[in-house]
Subunit: 365 residues, 2 copies
Amino acid sequence: MTGPDASPSAPEHVVAVDVGGSGARLVAVPLRRPSGSDGDGALALTGRPVRITAAGSDAADVVAELVGDLLRLHPGVRVSAAAASVTGLPSLVPDPEALHDALRGAGAATTAVASDALAAHLGALGGRPGAVAAVGTGAIVLATDLHRRWHRADGWGHLLGDLGSGSWIGAHGLRAAVATHDGRPGPTSPALLAAALERFGPVDGWPAALYGRPDRAHLLASFTPAVADAARAGDLVATQLLRDAGTHLAESLAAALRPGIPPLAAVTGGIVGVGDAVTTPLRARLSALRPDVRLVPADGGPLDGALRLARSLAEHRPGDGTLVEPYAPWLTVRPAGAPAPPTAPPTTPPTAGTPAGKETSAHER
Amino acid sequence: MTGPDASPSAPEHVVAVDVGGSGARLVAVPLRRPSGSDGDGALALTGRPVRITAAGSDAADVVAELVGDLLRLHPGVRVSAAAASVTGLPSLVPDPEALHDALRGAGAATTAVASDALAAHLGALGGRPGAVAAVGTGAIVLATDLHRRWHRADGWGHLLGDLGSGSWIGAHGLRAAVATHDGRPGPTSPALLAAALERFGPVDGWPAALYGRPDRAHLLASFTPAVADAARAGDLVATQLLRDAGTHLAESLAAALRPGIPPLAAVTGGIVGVGDAVTTPLRARLSALRPDVRLVPADGGPLDGALRLARSLAEHRPGDGTLVEPYAPWLTVRPAGAPAPPTAPPTTPPTAGTPAGKETSAHER
């Protein structure tokens, strides 16, 4: 199956899409590098962040928009497989099939829809089993052997968890700023208050600036660089916050690294850029909780993971050496030739079922 | 000035409205009890909760709806003064003048718009100066001598503060539940997890149930009774949460009780119903921080405070023995005969200005 205007002589591509809370990206990469080609022939596009409403996430619309852009800008592109990494998939995407439909719009015969946690895992550990903490605006740990065992820790969003994430650090930094402003007893941080005043104006305006916005978690996370700056300048409250963030992330990794998961771990996402102030206490706490676990640098990000997935789909038949076995909600695959299923709305959330023969995941005990 | 169909022989009433995050109430009370009357002649109505959107709070619409109900159900009512207690007034109400307009719709000559923190203060301390913690879904402390000194602590909402409030307790209870579910290291609370599962269904559905809703703080606060139940049944995590809530509230009171404020304090709102598990540690911490402060039971709630305010407006001229001196944003008064000001949108938030001759409040240092 190819796009409507695809030329049979055009090189076959695989498409990967990463849909996140701060933006979306699409890459189309030749399945085999064309002979005599200079560049790598990759096409790259960017799109808007996903929106979360009462009806859930509109990730399928973001994918459809990017695929539409791809076909408009490169009408001759031939796509053999496409994979999407989608934020909030385990909880907030109302219908993963709509995402498959959107990907199939690119002309892909085979499509895969992965949670960003799984795509981050595939990107960070390059297809090796283990645990990956994906930490940007939010924080989720997925520990899996990529076949039978799937354990999740955290990823519950800024009101329920995401401990140690950008939104967690930013929220706690702003709480320290208002506590300082109010003159509460206890440690104060004039540095965080000054930084917050500079970014958000007078304190009286912060509630109005924050509560009416749909992207509250992202706004909270936008204060994390200021917390990192304050810590670098010696602010004790900021330093302690980053230390607590590292500790929380180590504890999320330890919670997910259940028996049967190889003791290999990585951390990926924007938190890595905050540096040693988070990663040193993370390493120390993980080493105390699980001295057997090897913490390695991440190979790549969720877009790399989605691309690895798309390439695996293009090169293998299901069950024949594929990278990872489909397991809803982390990963669903629609194979070549499969019709779209009937579009009746699901009566249970996509995470409610546990496929027979699988180990129960942490949240189904 | 009286309502269009008001009968000159009907008793004069004062009207009080309380607009909150979980509902609204209006009472109209005879200014003087009619001779030979059996009951107290009071009229009472209820309305919907305020909605917070990107444009701010729609409190003026709630007041207009209640006033419309009053005039429809009691077309002959004569209203001499009306006062509203409005949640979120310091930060989230875009235009307090719209609230005066809505109150004037009842036929009131004189209108007052008070922050719920001030109305709670007037209700709890009955017009005495001191500090009042108004603690329901949110938590704010207002310390004032009702004339020159105004100090606020907290009231920043569930993402930035409201420490010790219903939303704070509920959020922390749910965080303990998901931490238990995830199997994180540290104290766990099977009781809170069981209570949360019973109320909100499987954990996987909690993010979707919470993040898309406009009333997130209220939903978080709805879990507070379950935390109180768990504490009563001996759950250590729940007990510690309530202890921390009491400590936070004492620290908010201490932060607001600046020099010049008489050392008198009260706590009002739904938190009082949680009982000793919160109030004992609150009392202990306040006594440690400020042994001179006398903590007294609250006389009444914000509707009582608004009624006291309306009655004061009906019985006194401004500056002549009035209960409290107007000070935006805590209190604005539109006197009899004053025209509505031009309705050009304000270019600065209503809290930005400090009237000349006032002590700066805590948030304008």
